[in-house]
């Protein structure tokens, strides 16, 4: 029990730090964008993950017992992305969008902090916590959707503003890391399910308490 409380306090410490660091980060970002005259702060990175460019000199030899399984090894550069700088007039809308995005992210951290803090007190199973988890879920879904739209927008820019053949996908990339665990959208959906379970559990608890 004491160890559990220590763990919760550790989490509270980390989340408090994360919240503070995020707030400072946003303030610094706004300050830099508003005061700096440089164009470097409004750039977009266009990924070229499937670029068929072999770096000279790199060699990876398989062990003799596995030689029959490997057809070819090639060292391919995946860091050769483009950085596109935009004109200055786009700075303010992008700043507003990023600030709102960050604001919601900080609010999610704040809600999570309040939720973890409530675990120390006796009112952990409360409707306030259900609202907190629901809000977190909805915000995370919103942020995930916004992020996906942003990705589509960047993809659209990279395909329509520039020569298309530079961005062509040459191979099919298979990824075994489940996207479910990292995608904000799915985390939001899981949070909503947890909120629903919490709500149902709370109703059962209330019913149990009001059974005389």
């Amino acid at each position: 029990m004491k160890r559990n409380k220590l763990l919760i306090k550790f989490c509270i410490g980390i989340l408090t730090f994360a919240r503070l660091a995020s707030v400072i980060g946003v303030i610094v970002m706004i300050f830099i964008v508003l005061t700096s005259k440089s164009d470097d702060y409004l750039t977009m990175e266009v990924h070229r993950d499937h670029l068929n460019e072999t770096i000279q000199g790199g060699e990876l030899l398989p062990k003799p017992e596995y030689e029959h399984l490997i057809a070819e090894t090639k060292l391919v550069s995946v860091t050769n992305n483009f950085e596109v700088a935009f004109e200055n007039y786009l700075r303010l809308p992008v700043l507003v969008i990023v600030t709102v995005f960050m604001g919601f992210s900080i609010y999610v951290i704040h809600l999570l902090l309040q939720f973890v803090k409530s675990a120390l007190s006796e009112d952990f199973f409360s409707y306030q916590n259900v609202t907190r988890i629901r809000l977190m879920g909805l915000i995370l879904i919103g942020l995930g959707m916004f992020s996906s739209i942003f990705d589509i927008w960047i993809n659209w820019i990279s395909r329509s503003f520039f020569e298309a053949d530079m961005m062509e996908t040459a191979t099919v990339k298979v990824n075994f890391t489940p996207d479910v665990l990292t995608n904000t959208l799915f985390i939001g959906l899981i949070a909503l399910i947890v909120a629903q379970a919490f709500d149902y559990g709370l109703k059962l608890k209330e019913e149990q308490e009001l059974t005389i």
Binding site: E206, L210, T211, I212
Partner: protein, 68 residues
């Protein structure tokens, strides 16, 4: 609420105080108050049995159904 708890009426008839009933039944005064004010979601048969035994009455004397 459709189910009305007439516990206070029965207590008045038996000239008994809530505290006495709570002690005799074996529930807290707070729970008895929840039952009396109609805030309770359910009543255990064992509790109902004990109340009926102490107040010497039928469940129908304590609980009443009214169509809203």
């Amino acid at each position: 609420m459709a189910i009305i708890v007439n516990l206070d009426v029965m207590l008045a008839k038996r000239k008994m105080q809530s505290k006495e009933l709570a002690e005799a039944v074996g529930i807290t005064l707070a729970n008895l108050s929840i039952l009396k004010t109609g805030k309770a979601k359910a009543v255990r048969f064992s509790t109902l049995e004990a109340i009926c035994k102490v107040l010497d009455c039928q469940p129908g004397d304590i609980l009443e159904f009214k169509n809203d």
